[in-house]
């Protein structure tokens, strides 16, 4: 019931926010903030349990054995908390930036969050797909209405990429459900039922690819990443925060929860290819990031690069690697969100994202510079901060699975230092010159903005210094997921001998 409440609160809050615009255009943001904080509060009650801490299953479409099945374990709870936390941050980012049609904006924002919560908790594959698509529409509107100069192109690209690959996943889901019908004589889209479906050979590989392509697009991984830089550079800051912080994580979550456990044998065969793609993502996008002048595009490419570690960890499929992947998801959620907020803040102040125009901002906006330094350093993987724990664990785990790819991927850490420091150098160091923009609004971070950044700093420090609570939460779920795949793989190996 709690899970329905979590999602319902956001849906209703969204509608209320829209309506409240009629009273005062400033109301929606407060309504939205209260809604998200309320959600965060409800989530706290999910902490402390073992296994599936909450679940609800109602009949929905009996014709196909589809049920309204939501459940949360440690892994889901971690991501739920991240979603609500970054949701609040995103509202903060939009607070002053969004001044037009505020009601509809916060409506879309809250509905995106609701869709994401649904994705993280749905255990019926039809329902999962349903939420997977539902979260796109409001995000489309956020980019298309409040975006920047090339918003139509970016929003369209984002939507078509995710929708088309989503349909591939739908076909894979339906194939799986059909095999369940053939093998067990009844329709079911229930995750636990579908885990029992025996598949093999080429068909399993095709189905696995259906899932993989959908998730790899969202993640994103090379070669499905090209929508991300466009979407990020055109989206309003709050949109970027949600995209980078939360939406990308749904892809990784999907891989951990669905793609690998449902098709363990095919995933095992596919792992070298996936890990190679991950290594390419890490290095290639780090290199491309270095070549960008648009600061938001740059951060977007670094996101792809960092998410490469997540893919690497997932396809190494051992406990350390998976823990690393999850930690990277959480830490990158915070650091990327913060960097996008900084970039968005800069754009809001000087109306450009072009880095060659900037320089020497340290003297003008010292607080902002310090905050930027902190998060750049976090992103490049400084020990003591969350990203380090994540990437380090992912690499240790991956090393056991594939030495060469791990060694190559580790170079990504060096590249990360290069581009992070390069951005600092370009924007905040050097000589101040304002020939190309109007600097009359270039003010330092306000107290309200500092609150958000400090909250994220605390989060990263916590993850970096004392990651045990996070690791502990996901450990049991991971054990269960890995236990399942191990059994299947073992039985397959025995069968083949």
């Amino acid at each position: 019931m709690i899970l329905v409440m979590l999602i319902g609160v956001l849906f209703i809050g969204g509608v209320l926010a829209w309506i409240s615009e009629g009273l005062d255009p400033k109301f929606p943001r407060s309504v939205a903030l209260v809604t998200v904080l309320l959600d965060l509060l409800i989530m706290l009650s999910l902490l402390g349990g073992e296994g599936w801490v909450a679940s609800i299953e109602l009949e929905w479409l009996p014709r196909f054995g589809i049920s309204f099945f939501l459940a949360a374990d440690g892994l889901s709870v971690l991501l739920l908390m991240l979603t609500a936390f970054l949701g609040a941050i995103a509202i903060g980012a939009a607070w002053d930036e969004i001044t037009e049609r505020t009601g509809f904006f916060y409506f879309n924002l809250l509905w995106t969050l609701a869709g994401v919560l649904g994705v993280f908790t749905a255990l019926d594959l039809f329902l999962f797909f349903f939420f997977w698509e539902v979260m796109l529409i409001p995000m489309y509107f956020i980019i298309a209405i409040w975006g920047h100069e090339n918003k139509n192109y970016a929003a369209m690209k984002f939507f078509i990429f995710t929708q088309v690959t989503g349909m591939l996943m739908l076909v894979a889901i339906l194939m799986l459900a059909y095999f369940h019908y053939v093998q067990f004589g009844s329709y079911s889209f229930n995750y636990h039922d579908l885990l029992n479906v025996r598949t093999a050979g080429q068909l399993e590989m095709w189905m696995m690819l259906g899932f993989f392509v959908a998730f790899a697009t969202k993640l994103p991984s090379v070669p499905f990443h090209s929508w991300l830089p466009d979407a990020h550079s055109q989206a309003p800051t709050a949109g970027s925060v949600i995209l980078a912080g939360i939406l990308l994580k749904t892809g990784a979550y999907g891989l951990i929860r669905f793609a690998v456990p449902l098709f363990p044998a095919a995933s095992m065969d596919f792992a070298p290819i996936a890990m190679t793609l991950a290594a390419i993502s890490i290095l290639y996008c780090a290199k491309v990031a270095f070549a960008q002048n648009d600061i938001k595009r740059l951060i977007a490419y670094t996101s792809v690069s960092h998410m490469g570690f997540v893919t690497l960890g997932i396809y190494a499929w051992n406990e350390q690697a998976l823990q690393g992947a999850i930690m990277t998801m959480l830490a990158h959620g915070l650091s990327a969100a913060a960097l996008f907020m900084l970039a968005g803040g800069l754009q809001h102040r000087i109306h450009t994202r072009n880095m060659p125009d900037m320089g020497g901002f340290w003297a003008r906006v010292p607080r902002m510079a310090v905050v930027a330094l902190f998060f750049s350093v976090a992103a490049l993987g400084m020990p003591g901060l969350g990203n380090f724990i994540g990437e380090f664990l992912a690499l240790i785990g991956a090393f056991q699975a594939n030495i060469w790819l791990t060694v190559i991927s580790a170079f990504g850490l060096i590249f990360a230092s290069v581009y992070s420091l390069w951005v600092m150098q370009k924007v905040f160091q050097g000589e101040y010159h304002n020939a190309d923009f109007d600097d009359s609004h270039l003010t330092d971070l306000s107290r309200r903005e500092m609150v958000y950044f400090i909250a994220m700093m605390i989060g990263l420090l916590w993850m970096g210094m004392y990651p045990q609570p996070f690791l502990g939460l996901s450990a049991t779920s991971l054990a269960e997921i890995m236990g399942g795949t191990e059994q299947v793989v073992l039985s397959l190996v025995e069968g083949s001998l």
Binding site: P62, Y140, A144, V164, L174, Y178
Partner: protein, 490 residues
């Protein structure tokens, strides 16, 4: 065979629609009154729909060799009459200020609906062609209705003539195919097609029945505007007044599809490999062609015309799948998707119709710029319909797509499924383009007709359609169960 009074009871819906048309005609003769005529038609259709709906549970009768009134036909009688009702309501404000005799329009609409009702309950070639011609004849009139209005739909006459000539040619194809089938089997009744053919060989037998089937499918493809027989569609859609376009695009298509479905199931036509190949090619060509050609259109009616070509192709996939899969899932898929298609097409055309009138049609995408901020409710309705056409969740279109995908997976039609995915992907672009137009800031010169009191009811039915779209998209379980129970009757 003598007809008894008992035979008439299952025919009540048909008799009611006929009565509606007759009374409307008489009424026009007695006193010309636009509201009265419209009201009469709407009431008649409403009564018929409700009456047919109450009969669904327990009527299953072959009335004369020509008509079958079973759960399946009753379901489509309800859908047809309800759609005709919606179109009648939408036509009211549209024709309100037409400076011509406007009452006869409702007569045509009523007669067309008789044709559609006959089509969905026919399981005999004769009744099918009778229904089809009744429907088409009335549609010619509806398409050309605003011919004397200076600024209305630009080319009603051209559209009507084009439609008349091509539709007659298509009927010719169908008739010739029927003749060949008759020569082979000696019967025109769907139910006895297979019994009469030489036993042993599958399907209709003899080589020239393939020719017969292909002729029939060519004619049907004309009527359904499937590629490569689709060339008339965009021109006729663009030229006709909007309510007539709506009628053509919804009821005209659904009736034909029901006949096609019954014929294919009864004749086992898909047992010929060449027929399956041809139908698959038609489906693929329609999906890709329709979606690609819609991409760069600026005229809303043309976009929806091409998109309807693609949608007909989608449904054809489920029909092909019905041969390869056990059980009735693919027939349910066809049925559900037709229902979904009716709802979303009625809505999409309805939005255009409610802002237009017989004096001026707003059918260019640019006319809708900033609709979100000018008329939010209408924009929400339109967006819902477009998302549904694109197959996005929360809408009935998504559940329809889900059915189609499932039917395709069961039939293992991988190539057609990939075409479906590619087509839907392309389709997103032009649907979203319209949505994007609507969220842009409104232009300073807003040229829309401001809806007066007469379009109040049109807004009402559009809102009901939106509600239906969402309810069927979020909780379709009852309708799914109903469709599952009626699908066995095909």
């Amino acid at each position: 065979m003598n007809m008894t009074l008992g035979d008439l009871i299952p025919l009540t819906p048909l008799l009611l629609v006929t009565a509606t048309a007759v009374i409307t005609m008489t009424l026009i003769g007695i006193r010309r009154s636009y509201p009265l005529t419209a009201g009469m038609t709407i009431t008649g259709l409403l009564v018929t729909a409700i009456f047919a709906a109450t009969m669904i549970g327990d009527t299953n009768a072959q009335v004369t060799p020509l008509m079958i009134v079973d759960h399946y036909s009753l379901f489509f009688i309800v859908v047809t009459c309800a759609s005709a009702l919606v179109i009648a309501v939408l036509s009211y404000p549209y024709l309100f200020s037409l400076n011509d005799h406007k009452e006869e329009y409702y007569l045509l609409l009523g007669v067309a609906t008789i044709g559609a009702v006959v089509m969905v309950s026919s399981n005999h070639f004769v009744s099918a062609i009778l229904g089809l011609e009744t429907l088409s004849m009335s549609l010619y009139g509806m398409v050309a209705y605003t011919v004397h209005s200076k600024e209305a739909a630009k080319y009603p006459l051209e559209a009507a003539v084009k439609y008349l000539v091509l539709s007659a040619a298509a009927s010719g194809f169908i008739l010739f195919g029927m003749a060949l089938v008759y020569a082979q089997t000696g019967t025109l009744s769907f139910t006895s097609l297979l019994e009469s053919s030489n036993g042993g060989t599958p399907g209709l037998g003899a080589p020239y029945s393939i020719v017969a089937l292909l002729l029939i499918f060519a004619g049907v493809a004309f009527k359904l505007s499937l590629a490569p027989f689709h060339l008339w569609t965009p021109d006729v859609y663009e030229g006709s007044p909007l309510p007539a376009t709506t009628y053509l695009a919804t009821i005209g298509k659904a009736g034909m599809f029901v006949v096609l479905l019954r014929f294919i199931e009864a004749s086992d036509a898909l047992s010929f490999e060449s027929v399956v190949t041809v139908l698959s090619l038609i489906a693929a060509a329609s999906i890709l062609g329709g979606n690609l050609l819609a991409l760069l259109q600026e005229n809303l009616k043309r976009i929806l015309a091409y998109s309807s070509i693609a949608h007909m192709g989608y449904i054809l996939i489920a029909i092909i799948a019905s041969y390869y899969s056990e059980g009735t899932v693919s027939i349910e898929a066809v049925t559900f998707y037709l229902l979904a298609y009716m709802v979303m097409s009625l809505g999409a055309f309805g939005v255009a119709s409610v802002v237009s009138s017989s004096e001026k049609e707003f059918d260019v995408v640019a006319d809708y710029q900033g609709l979100f901020w000018r008329d939010p409710w209408l924009a929400v309705i339109f967006t819902g319909m477009l998302f549904s056409l694109a197959g996005i969740p929360l809408t009935v279109g998504f559940i329809g797509k889900f059915y189609l995908f499932y039917a395709g997976v069961e039939g293992a039609l991988w190539v057609l499924l990939s075409v479906l995915i590619i087509g839907s992907g392309i389709g997103l672009y032009y649907y979203l383009r319209i949505v994007y137009r609507m969220v842009l800031p409104a232009p300073e010169q807003v040229s829309f007709r401001v809806g007066g009191m007469e379009s109040f009811s049109a807004y009402g039915v559009l809102s009901i359609l939106l509600l239906l779209l969402l309810v069927l998209g979020v909780y379709p379980a009852p309708v799914m169960a109903l469709i599952e129970s009626i699908a066995a009757y095909v």
